[in-house]
Structures are given as C-alpha cells and as structure tokens.
C-alpha cells in the first residue's frame, strides 16, 4: 500500500498536477509520524502510513503557510475526508483545485482510538485516488451504538455530570490546541480573540473554560465530523469527544444528519425546516 501511495504521489509531482503533497511521513526513521509536505518527486520516500497517522491533514488546506506551496494534494483517512465535504459546502475550499488521495484505514492508535470502533468510513469516499483496501468492514452502527459512550455518561445524574466537567475543565489552560487542529475552526479572528466586546473571558478560570468549551462545541454543531483531533491534541487530556458527540447525536436524532457523509444533504446549521419538532417550546 505504501509503494502505491509513493508512486501516485511521485507521478502527481512529476507531471506537475500538484506542487505539494500533504501526507504523513517520517523525516528520519526513528522519528514519530508527522505531517509532511512533499514538493520534490524524489522525497516521496519520506511518506509513511501506519496506525500512528493521527493528524487530520485537511486542516492544512486552510493555512496560508501551506497554500503558498501552490496546488495541493492531500492524503486523507475516511474520517478526515468527511471534513473536506463540510468545508466544500461552507465554500472554504475549491474542491476542483485539490487532489484528494484517500488512504484505506483499519483504525489508528494502539489501542484503537474510540472513534474507530464505530467507524463506517474505513474506505474514504469522494477521493480522486483510493490507496489500499480496508480489511475491517464498515461498522453498520446504529445510533445507539454510535453514541453508547455518550449515553453511558448521560445516565449519570446532572450534578455528577457537572462535577465531572468542573474537574476536567479546571485543567484547561486555554492553549487552543483543540481549535488549531480542527479543520472546522477557520474563523479569521476567533470569538475569543475579539475584545469589543469581550464575550468570552480569556482567563483560564473555570468560568472562562466553561464559556470557551460551550462555545467551541456549539460552533461545531452539525459540522464536527468526529475526527477527534481535538481530544488527542489536548495537553490536559480533557475528553472533548463527549461534547462533540452530544451535538452529533442531537443532529442525527433530530435531523437525521451526519456531517460530511452525504454530499446532497443541506448542512443543518444555516438551513431550517418548518417541520422541526417543538414540544419543549411553550
């Protein structure tokens, strides 16, 4: 699979279809896998692929330091690829200008990350190339299975849930790694960087952290594709996945919508329907 990936990228670079390939690689053998930007055909041997390729490389399609390289090819796993679809619908990228190299993936992380258990996109869709074949079949997870982790958490009484978040969010230092790794967070100036008015306190106090994480989670409602990079990037080890699952579950249960899955479906935030239920409204 790795040779097929390297050959594809070598050809793309040689015939000038792209000026740079964003992929996973090891600049030197003993280093961990990191995002690499291959611009010369002979460097494609740096490319690597194994179950330590965590990063969602779609994020780099929004950064000027990478866009300056010219036309780009990006390697994506199934979960990463869903982010491409959302960005396209939110007109942040021009899909025709990007070459998408899908990598068949059997899950990442040793042991496997939580997101991989109910993954049904082992083989990336809407990609220009698909490299390799996924051995694990796509899980036909029901809504209950997909959100089992969240439901287990929601079974706890509200006081216990708030106590959990008070303990977890007290460790947040507001390094904004969760924002910087997220392909959906592309605002030129994030709401926390605005100070006229200061709507979210920039201090890493419990009040500031609750306000920030509520805002971050809700700004991803119906947009987060569940790549879980925010949870992996958090140096304080806060399980942001639970917050993202809450919004994803609400989107699926109420609007039968899973972000980045169906190119025909309208994104739910920004659109509306007269048939939305309102039993909770007096």
């Amino acid at each position: 699979m790795l040779d097929e990936l390297r050959q594809t990228c070598r050809r793309l670079l040689q015939d000038g279809t792209v000026q740079a390939v964003i992929g996973y690689g090891r600049p030197s053998p003993e280093d961990p896998v990191v995002p690499v930007f291959i611009t010369k055909p002979e460097d494609v041997d740096q490319l690597a692929w194994d179950d330590q390729c965590f990063a969602n490389l779609v994020k780099y399609l929004l950064r000027k330091e990478v866009l300056s390289l010219g036309k780009l090819a990006v390697c994506v796993k199934g979960c990463d690829q869903r982010a491409l679809l959302v960005l396209e619908k939110e007109s942040q990228i021009d899909r025709s200008q990007i070459v998408v190299i899908g990598l068949a993936c059997d899950g990442v992380g040793k042991p496997r990350l939580a997101k991989c258990a109910s993954c049904d996109v082992h083989t990336p869709r809407q990609s220009d190339f698909v490299i390799g074949k996924a051995n694990t079949p796509d899980a036909a997870a029901t809504v209950a299975e997909r959100y089992a982790e969240l439901d287990a958490f929601l079974a706890k009484p509200p006081e216990e849930r708030m106590a959990y978040w008070k303990k977890e969010l007290s460790r947040c230092v507001k390094c904004y790694a969760c924002r910087q790794v997220c392909p959906m967070c592309y605002c030129r100036q994030c709401i926390v960087d605005k100070n006229r008015p200061v709507s979210i306190s920039t201090s890493a106090t419990l009040k500031g952290n609750f306000a920030w994480h509520i805002t971050r989670a809700f700004h991803l409602a119906g947009r987060c594709v569940g790549c879980d990079e925010c949870t992996r990037a958090c140096p304080a080890g806060i399980d942001l996945r639970l917050l993202n699952l809450s919004l994803a579950k609400a989107a699926e249960e109420n609007f039968d919508y899973r972000s980045g899955m169906d190119p025909e479906k309208e994104p739910i935030i920004g659109a509306y329907s007269q048939q939305d239920h309102e039993e909770f409204i007096r």
Binding site: D31, F54, K64, E65, A177, V198, R232
Partner: protein
Amino acid sequence: MSELLDKTDLNRLVDAWLSEGRRVAGPQCVNAKDSRGQADRIQYAWLTKAEELRLDGFIRPTNSIKEFVFPRHEKLYGYQFKGKRLELTPAELPTTEQVVIGARPCDAAALKILDAVFNWDVKDEFYNRRRELTTVVTLACKEHDDFCFCTSVGSGPCDERGSDVLLIPIDGERYEVRCLTEKGKKLLAGATTASSEEATAPQGPPVRFNLDALGEFLAGGYDRPEWPEITRRCLGCGACAYTCPTCHCFDIVDEGSASGGARVRNWDACQFTMFTAHASGHNPRSDQSQRQRQRIHHKFQIYPDKFGELLCTGCGNCSRNCPVDMGVLPVLKTIAAKK
C-alpha cells in the same frame, strides 16, 4: 555518608506537611483517559492527601511546576468606581507555604532560569513572593523517553539547579536525600536516616544535537530561508508554550464591568496571531514560521545573551504535547544537522 528516606516515611511527611497547613503539589494521575491509548495522564496538581502522589510509573508530567510560581491566571489589583471617585485595591499576595514534591530536575532548573527575567532591573513581587514560599523537592529521573533532551542543553537527570532537596531513587522503596538549601534542610530536618549507601547517578538521554552548531545557525541572522520549511506543520496553538517549564509570556486584561473589577494577568504564547498584532492591523510576525523562529531564537540565543542561561531545560514537553510532534526538539535536530 548519605541521608536516606523510604517511601512510607515520605508519604507520612507529605501528610504531615498538609496537616501543618502547607499546600503540597506533586505528580498525580488526573485520571484522564489518555487519547493516545497510553498510560494514565500524570500532571502536577495540588494534593489533598499523600495517597494521591505518584512518584513512579511515568517519564514526566505533561505540565510543569511553573504553575505554582507563575499561575495561569492571577489578579494584579482590583479597581472600584464610587461615582467619579476610583479606588485601587492591591491583590493580597499568598502567605501559605507550599511544597512541590516529586518535581523533575528539568522543572526545578526552570525556576532558577526564570528568576532572571522576573528580577532584571524591575522586580516582579508576585513571582518572587510565590518563589520564596515554595520549597522544591526534586526527584531524579531513572528513565527517559525519545522526547527528553536535558543532556543536550547542559542539564541532566540529577541537575540540582532550582531544587531545595534532591531525591535520588536507590531502589523501588528508598531514596538518597541531598538537602541543597536551607529551606530544604528545614523542611526535611530529622526525617532522614544516615547511611553509607549512595544512590548510583542515573543515566540521562543521549545527546540529541550539537549546541554549538545550533548557536552558529542562530547567529547567522534572522531571515534564514530554512525556517518556513522546517516549521510548516506548526498549527499555531499554545500547547508547547503552556506546558513548557520556562515559557513565561503573559497578557494583562481587565475583568469585570466599568463600575468595578480586577486587572488580571493570564498566560500568553508567542505562537498566537494576536500576540504581536497592532491595533492598526500591522503584525510584525504575521507568519507562523516567524513565530516559531522567535520561539527558538528567544530560547537559544536572545535569553542566553541577555541572562546567561538557555531558556530551555530539555524536558521535551513541547514535543510531547504538540499535536503534530513538533516543539523544539525536531527543529533543533534539523537545524544542527543543516550545517
């Protein structure tokens, strides 16, 4: 001759300190499910009882002890409007003594390095007060991982800089105790037993890059063409700066309303876009590679030139916590190899 202390006595000591009204902080499992599926996540945090203290089974905590002398959020003073009249109330500085038990040498050494910037020509009493109140009991490292590079920056698993007491593990149960300062002696007075047994100095990580080659590269001026390529994968978050024992930049903001509130100091990081943005929109460092360059220059050229010590103790937290495995280590290895 050496002084020894075993684990049970150490735990009893910690409980004693707590009962005497001291605040005690140390590595503990914050029990967060580590998203990379590895062991529990260990962080320095305030202890309520010695049982929570974890002294082995991990390389080093993912945060640093600077939190206890330079907190992430700190009130500088309060302001209160009474009609047109305005009153400023200085923040009350802490008074309770605090002990950091089980600090790593690369954390303790960082405190000594930070003393310079917080005391050159104008003294920062917030930092100094907390520093005086703190006694650092350092635990030498028996193991290291691929991210540790203390030996490459003039430190090591037994670096005594910044420590009041150094504990060197002899075996799983006992530590050799070296009291280095008066504060350390006072804290551990009478708790240790004399012995002839000496702990063998643990072996640090291999030297990962040549410090002089790095110095030459940095001395070659700021606008070197290699920077954009080396730092392209950086996403511009603050994880490296906030978990680094020596990063000390901060922001000053007002919290409260126009009628009253407080002016506070929060951690800040040179990797954020807003760090150098002018109100006019001009930004001297608008590109991520410039910010990464600034971070490396500041740590390995500017701070040493000004204060005589590297602003880095080689703990490896910046690479350990970086979402794209960057931080300083890979950059330094690339630069040092670029000669």
